[in-house]
């Protein structure tokens, strides 16, 4: 369990962050300058809070009241920094092996070859960091932190400089480390959907204060809608059950009490729970299930609220099982479909628009 409850003042900036996470993956969101990096620095021990405490699985990292301050090298907290901070006098290989050397032998659980393969840095091992491109540097930095086999891994927007392809490759690695080696993680990102599927707890920070906190289901929609404008950032999280497979077409049927969602690829064993993230702009509204289109996934619900914003409206739909689904549509469409609070409505979801990388097995609490 990670417990953070700290206050810090730097210059005129006041940070007050408190959260605790029983499970392993905490996501930290917030605008530029909101205090995310400062929070990570407090956890890793780079800076000392003015007040409060930080604990991980019963180990106290810092507790101002009790006068405890564990120095960073004894915390065994791996950090992937916003700037890669590679050692310029060492080759990529030496950089990667640096932390490993300090890890107790029994803890060297993460395999060197596997990491360099997944990160695609096998060809760079002999280079000095100065001869790497921006993205290459960041990949090496991720590898270095992973290979130190830490008790807790902190990521400070590690993928900002990576292309989509690399991101899609690295995310599963991060997930695997979390699951196979049970390394707890705190992950800072701007791109809210980047890791929300992995997160057990989402902490939204705004101007140094916690603005929202909770599981993805509770917080994500709110967190994703930081700006009224950004209908593209508004998403919903649905908890579903894996019902079966269509082996011929490689599809998985996900059952929700309000309907069915078809997913490309596998999502876990039949009967298991999973979590699906659906962007509001990917939902098509209709008065009846679709005919003769490529859309296969249909959920039925009741309109809970409609918020207009310029030419668009954000329609909140109550599904069975206390799940909410957001759908973005033009005001015109809302009018033509005659949608009003309380109306029945069908939500059509394109399977191809569902990112299977954003479907995660829900954790057993």
């Amino acid at each position: 369990m990670l417990e953070v409850n700290v206050a810090l003042k730097v210059g005129s900036f006041q940070l007050e962050v408190a959260f605790q996470n029983q499970k392993t993956f905490t996501a930290l969101f917030g605008q530029s300058g909101s205090g995310k990096s400062l929070t990570l620095n407090l956890i890793s021990g780079l800076i000392r809070p003015n007040e409060g405490f930080i604990r991980l699985d019963g180990v106290t990292f810092v507790d101002i009241n009790e006068g405890i301050f564990e120095p960073m090298h004894r915390r065994r907290v791996g950090v992937v920094f916003q700037d890669s901070n590679l050692f310029p006098h060492m080759s990529v290989r030496q950089n990667l092996l640096f932390g490993r050397w300090f890890a107790p032998k029994g803890d060297r659980r993460i395999d060197f070859d596997q990491v360099i393969e997944v990160l695609g840095i096998g060809k760079l091992l002999k280079r000095p960091p100065s001869r790497l491109s921006g993205g290459e540097r960041q990949r090496v930095a991720i590898g270095r932190a992973l290979l130190s086999c830490p008790r807790l891994l902190l990521f400070d927007e590690p993928m900002a400089a990576l292309d989509m392809e690399r991101k899609l490759e690295i995310l599963p690695l991060i997930e695997r480390i979390r699951d196979e080696f049970r390394v707890p993680m705190v992950y800072v990102s701007h791109a809210i959907e980047e890791v929300v599927r992995l997160a057990d707890l989402i902490v939204v920070i705004d101007a140094g204060k916690v603005k929202a906190i909770g599981g993805p289901g509770e917080v994500f929609s709110a967190a994703s809608a930081q700006s009224e404008e950004a209908r593209f950032d508004r998403s919903s999280v649905l908890t579903v059950r894996v019902a079966g497979e269509n082996a011929r077409y490689g599809l998985t049927e996900l059952k929700h009490s309000s309907g069915v969602i078809w997913l490309g690829g596998a999502a876990g064993p039949a009967g298991s729970e999973a979590r699906v993230i659906i962007k509001a702009t990917d939902v098509v509204l209709a008065n009846e299930p679709a005919h003769r289109t490529s859309v296969r996934s249909v959920l039925q619900g009741k309109v809970l609220s409609i918020h207009d914003s310029g030419p668009f409206a954000m329609v909140e739909i109550a599904l069975a099982g206390d799940n909410h689904l957001f759908a973005a549509a033009t005001r015109q469409a809302v009018d033509e479909l005659g949608l009003q609070k309380g109306c029945d409505v069908f939500a059509l979801i394109k399977t191809a628009a569902l990112d299977e990388a954003k479907i995660a097995p829900a954790h057993v609490s």
Partner: protein, 231 residues
């Protein structure tokens, strides 16, 4: 035309030995002092800084007398050192100590500058990877301060070649034991007709110094090459 007599060769070899030993013995102390001054926060830091600079500020003769009174046979620490087998007075080892002391401020200043220029975030990154203070020092700070270590060493070495004021005062000017090139040059300048000999030895000193400088530049470039950046 350019003939060096046996005594002069002796002085040259002795100078080299003294300069090398002086540089090597002051190296660990210099590095420690430079790092402490660059990164440390402790009471008496200013005082330490001041003491290290003294040999630079005082006339070398004074430093030499102080050494004589401190480490000489009848000095404050001399008998103790003698009891553990270290005899410095009127030995080449004493000359090395005098040169080391005189070069120390130069060495420390250069090294300190380089330690201060090391990106602290790299040390912190090493810390998060599990490296404790000493490891951070040896694996990150020290290699990154390499240019300053080299520069500090070469300054100390050059100073040791040129030093004679403190040396001659502390360990005298005994041929074959404590007479360095510089002391020999000095002696030649003190007598009528010695100018030519002085000039010859001066040229030798210059050649040695240039060779050392050249070696240090190459050494430093080798270090930099590893860190070379395209931009």
């Amino acid at each position: 035309m350019f003939h060096l007599n046996a005594a002069e060769w002796t002085a040259i070899w002795l100078s080299l030995r003294i300069a090398i030993v002086a540089t090597l013995i002051s190296l660990p102390f210099g590095i420690a002092a430079a790092y402490a001054l660059a990164r440390g926060r402790f009471p008496g830091k200013s005082l330490l800084n001041g003491i290290i600079h003294l040999p630079l500020v005082l006339p070398p003769v004074v430093t030499g007398f102080l050494l004589l009174m401190l480490l000489g046979r009848r000095g404050a620490l001399g008998p103790f050192l003698a009891s553990i087998g270290i005899v410095l007075s009127f030995r080449w080892t004493g000359a090395a100590v005098a040169c080391a002391v005189m070069g120390f401020p130069l060495m420390v200043r250069a090294m300190r500058l380089s330690f201060e220029a090391v990106d602290r975030r790299l040390e912190l990154a090493a810390g998060t990877l599990g490296a404790s203070g000493p490891w951070r020092f040896f694996l990150v700070s020290l290699p990154l301060a390499f240019p300053g270590i080299i520069v500090g060493s070469i300054l100390a070495f050059a100073k040791a070649l040129g030093e004679f004021g403190a040396t001659i005062t502390f360990v005298s000017n005994i041929p074959g034991e404590t007479q360095t090139i510089s002391a020999a040059i000095y002696t030649y300048t003190q007598v009528p007709g010695g100018d030519e000999s002085a000039l010859r030895l001066t040229i030798v000193a210059i050649v040695i110094a240039l060779a050392a400088l050249f070696a240090s530049e190459i050494f430093q470039k080798m270090g930099e090459k590893r860190i070379a950046s395209l931009e």
